[in-house]
């Protein structure tokens, strides 16, 4: 170990057998990804609020969760509850994203094109799935990478259970799609 690395002292979980260096890098990457995802959602919150207030609130909550996670990780709070909170909050966001891109969400408002003001007697678009763009795809990939990093920090037993549940979620999405229910 170089002297630089050995100088890093972390309040790592007792009993960890993983390299301190790798764990440090993993946590630092997770901090960056959580902050990036939080900022991305913060930027998107006003537009979603104008379109559909419920989605604006959702984005605000996501922002708060992801920035809180970044802060906790920055303070080296890597307890099991923090990691599980980080994993499942981001998994939930990813699931909502997928749902919003393949179907209209329950309660999603019908809207005029470009979210225009409605006019008396004018027709408008029925609710329909949102389009995908580079910005939201970037956020999704950041969140998935964040989930993978946080999973890697879990204890063995929790990691096994968590990845199993993730796999079930993935299979469910593929299954709903194949059955025609989701698409």
């Amino acid at each position: 170990m170089s002297s630089d690395v050995s100088a890093v002292t972390l309040p790592v979980r007792a009993g960890s057998v993983r390299s301190v260096t790798v764990r440090t890098v993993t946590i630092d990457m997770a901090i960056l990804l959580a902050a990036a995802a939080g900022i991305a959602h913060l930027i998107s919150t006003p537009a979603h609020w104008r379109w559909w207030q419920a989605s604006g609130v959702f984005f605000a909550v996501i922002t708060a969760c992801q920035l809180t996670l970044a802060a906790l990780l920055f303070m080296r709070r890597t307890s099991l509850p923090v990691l599980l909170f980080g994993i499942w909050s981001n998994v939930f966001v990813a699931l909502v994203y997928v749902a919003s891109r393949v179907t209209a969400l329950p309660g999603q408002p019908a809207t005029t094109a470009h979210h225009a003001p409605k006019a008396p007697g004018r027709a408008f678009l029925p609710a329909r799935p949102e389009g995908i763009g580079p910005f939201d795809m970037f956020s999704l990939i950041v969140e998935l990478a964040l989930v993978a990093l946080l999973v890697s920090l879990l204890p063995e037993k929790w990691r096994r259970h968590t990845t199993t549940v993730l796999m079930v979620c993935g299979l469910a999405m593929w299954g709903l799609t194949a059955s025609g229910i989701l698409l």
Partner: protein, 574 residues
Amino acid sequence: MSLNRRDLLKTGVFAGAAVALPTARFVGADTAARMPESKLPKPFSLPFKQAPIAVPYRKDATCEYYKMDMMGGYAEIIPGFKSYVMGYNGIVPGPTIKARKGIQTVVRHCNQLDAVHPVLGYTPWTSVHLHGSGSLPQYDGYASDIAMPPGGVREDGTVCTNGEYKDYHYPNYQKARTLWYHDHGVHHTAENAYHGLVAQYHLHDAEEQTLGIPTSIYDPTMNGGLGGWKGEYDVALTVGDLMFQSDGNLLFSLDNQSGHWGDVIHVNGVPWPVMRVKRRKYRFRVLAASISRSFKFSLNDPTTAQKSYGTQYSYQIIGTDGGLMPAPVTVKSHRQLSGERYEIVVDFGAIFKGKAKGSRVVLNNTSPKNNLNYTNTHQVMAFEVVDDAYDTSVTRGNGNAVPAKLSAINDIMNLTPAMSVATRRLRLERSGGAWTINGTTWDKIIQSNYQFVEAAPTVGTVETWIIENSSGGWFHPLHIHLVDFKILSRNGQPPMPHERGPKDVVYTGENETVTLLVRFDSLGKYMVHCHNLVHEDHDMMTQFEVVGPAGEKGDDPMYAAVARDMEFEATDVL
């Protein structure tokens, strides 16, 4: 990090689904399997056809009334395959309406399309624009003034069970010209027009009927007294390009919102048709009804080598968007964009002189740059000569001449820069991923509740409009509603010979600046947009408002005549 192979695999199942499912839906919508070229018809193997002439529903001394049902259904465009199309009265392209100057037309357009497009999955609301007509604002096909199909959802959440209809009033006060009516519904114009909601509309006047050129003649006794038209040598050519999915349905791809280019060139809905012609002059009303493609037409001897052209023949251009030119122009090719109309006269007597019956010439397309081309997009249609005799009686519309002077009085072509009272610039550009005109999109118009206007010229005045396209990657056919204009210059040079007539669409090529003289004859808000319909839908459209000297305003395009539910149609006298 300590994810073992099994953990990675399990996590990957989730991550893969999260990324792949939205992407697959997005990509699937745009890149459905294209029909292989082996399934497409060979060029010049299918017979030419024309759209039928529309018959009025009724008429009186000052007006003719039509009823059009917009309907979806399946048509065999590629032999052996059924394609979902949408047409006026279920016909693609729709019936040609023929009108006489001074006799108004009212067309009741009923949206009876499917609630959801069965291939593309959108709701096909409609707005009908008569392109080339100085219609009142509420009858101009204002993009956001839409009619819903049966099953469409209204503002209050109720379903529009019966669909909606609207009566469009057309004044027919202008000079003889080739117009066309097509869909203009906000954000779905490209898909609606692509699937067939386009048709020609011919306005005739006394001057045009007495020049001795091939034309059509009105016969009041036809169709049980409702009137009809005869004119074998006055031929509509509606040219476009399509692409097909392997199941026969039309494939529509936005290509990053740049446009849509098909691999099948069609004329009047027939892929690369062959038309039998007599040894005489024909007048062709050429409408480029493509979504994005621009053409450079020429007449050549047929060759088998791809993109190799035989002898090139001259033809005469006698009319532009706004009607007859002051004098015919002889050319060997001309450039034409979506929305533009050119009336050309081809003398098959001269072309086929000394050639045997069955000889052919081909209308080719030496494509302007920045189009996507495929194996046979350089060919349009063929003409095959027959030896049939023809009626030489000019009085029946069978004119076989092109006089040296055409339109004796043409106010637009007589405009001079000295008449201009203002100069405005329109910048056509892509900004932040959006197509814009002076940085404005139709979204801005909507957000302003349709109040924002790019310009407010005074009625009766002439202005200089300078159209700028500083991009080397795109061309834009700019269409200004309501008006005819004269092209003064292109990059400081005189306009091309075929552009020296009254226009309402101008080719604004790569790195080009085009200067127009525009006269504003009536009040109201009207649209200006790119006629690459993909650009128009995304969202390259703004508006201007012609006002009176004291600020008087015209009718409101959104609210002066709204579409009504079809339940009222039976009792609403047309």
